[in-house]
Symmetry: C2
Subunit: 300 residues, 2 copies
């Protein structure tokens, strides 16, 4: 009998749940809208329970894995802080275990996505991997020795808030000059707008693919910042592979070409080392859900 | 019978060798001047062999560990690039094994120093550690899960060449804005000189300790940059402890106080996490030698 688990991706706008098999295949799925930032934690919990109850009907499920956009503690049960939700030190794992009657693991959504890419996607050939997800902001995760690295307190991988410009642009985190202010969906739209093109997201990608030089310039600019930030990560961690995911990564080579150039130009000792390949994530928007399900199955 | 090994620290100015016991105690030592940058690799080898032969006389030594300022390959035998020496892809380990008739391991000097601090010094209570050494430039190393992390190609820990200022000060590495241009012995002397105090190294530390406000200001400035750079490392890796070593670290709290302030002000999620302690290294200039000897004993 196949060992099935449920993976749940809790993002800023959508809660997506799926029954996933050991090969990473999605057998069933259910989506819900994420309750707003001012909603009580119990309402978000209700929504997760509904989505899981809905999707598991008719499947023999042994565990549930959650991937949440936020800081998760080292024990993988407590969400310390989630910028898009009202959670503060929320014991999500325990609460959901009680309500669902199944073992529940909780992880950062980027950690879950990286695990999925390692098991079934763009990094299946490497044990030392950095994942950068470019959505509205930047998410990040690290694979070290073939396992997800969470650091001492569970908060490793927050590369989006490393400072790349002194006294630079103000960031939602309260500081200034954070990498995600220069390299993210939000930065992309801003670069385009400043150059006279008022488009966002997939429309910008379409315009760039259709030859719009302004849209292409905006991708070149965030791509350059991607390469600069990746060079810093490579100097510190020397990974085998860098995977770039998130909505913005749909732009593919429009983003990776300038990033590769900037990486080669910014990386210390580039002449004496193999520069790690930059690859687009293979599993798209489902990576977090599939990875969370697999982490619940195989353990952290 | 005690298992003794020799540790050798190959720095820009000095080659130091010591017989070290399993408790990290130095039983005998021998120092040599490092041959200049233009000297043939074989002359550097001769000098290492001399120092080891000298120091091991009268001791039953089972292995030799080298810590070298440079990029060492993942197999710990080959020095890919050493800025202060003429080595390029130098098979140092094999050559020394042939000449010394003992097993030889080769590692980056900062990796060796970190291992010593973990085994016998300031990080003996932690398995997730970042070491920053402030000498002329910055060296760095990572302990992950209680072992030295070298990355995929052996080059992890080169934090000194992460870029902290776009189009910033030119660096010896050929790029601009590298962290070590703002936080190192060289940066300290430059900040002091720009403010009218033409002192370097220990003289600057003495002046600051004696109340010289200009000298103290120079330490405050590199301390601030230390905190900013450490915040980036903590955002990415979430270590339990940060150890600060190298000659500049002799300034102690003169350096760490401003660094702690800048770290708390620069670290993402500082309100929702434990900020890792910054500690001065405990083993001083001998750390690399002791760590290299211990790595040769216990294996990598």
């Amino acid at each position: 009998m196949t060992d099935l688990t449920v993976g749940v991706d809790i993002g800023g706008s959508k809660i997506a749940a799926a029954v996933v098999d050991p090969a990473g295949r999605v057998l069933a799925r259910a989506d819900r809208t994420t309750p707003g930032r001012t909603t009580a934690p119990s309402v978000v919990e209700d929504t997760i329970v509904e989505a899981v109850t809905d999707v598991r009907a008719g499947h023999l499920v042994t565990a549930v894995g959650i991937g949440a956009a936020g800081f998760v503690d080292a024990g993988s049960t407590r969400v310390m802080f989630a910028p898009h939700l009202s959670w503060r030190e929320e014991p999500l794992g325990e609460r959901l275990e009680q309500r669902l009657g199944l073992p529940v693991t909780v992880d950062n959504d980027a950690n879950a996505a990286l695990w999925a890419e390692h098991r079934f996607g763009a990094a299946s050939d490497a044990d030392e991997v950095a994942l950068i997800t470019l959505g509205t902001g930047i998410g990040g995760a690290l694979l070290i020795g073939g396992v997800v690295y969470r650091g001492h307190g569970g908060m490793a991988g927050e590369f989006g808030h490393t400072r790349v410009v002194p006294d630079g642009r103000p960031c939602e985190c309260g500081r200034t000059g954070c990498w995600e202010q220069y390299c993210s969906g939000k930065a992309l739209a801003r670069f385009a707008r400043e150059a006279g093109r008022d488009l966002v997201g997939p429309d910008l990608t379409a315009a760039a693919n259709a030859g719009d030089i302004v849209a292409q310039g905006a991708f070149a600019e965030i791509g350059r910042w991607l390469g600069i930030g990746v060079a810093n990560i490579v100097a510190g961690l020397d990974p085998a592979v860098i995977v770039v995911g998130g909505g913005v990564s749909a732009a593919g080579e429009l983003l990776l070409n300038p990033a590769r150039q900037a990486l080669a130009g910014s990386l210390v000792g580039a002449e004496h080392r193999v520069i790690p390949p930059l690859r687009i994530a293979a599993l798209g928007a489902d990576a977090g859900m599939i990875g969370a399900a697999d982490l619940a199955r195989v353990g952290r």
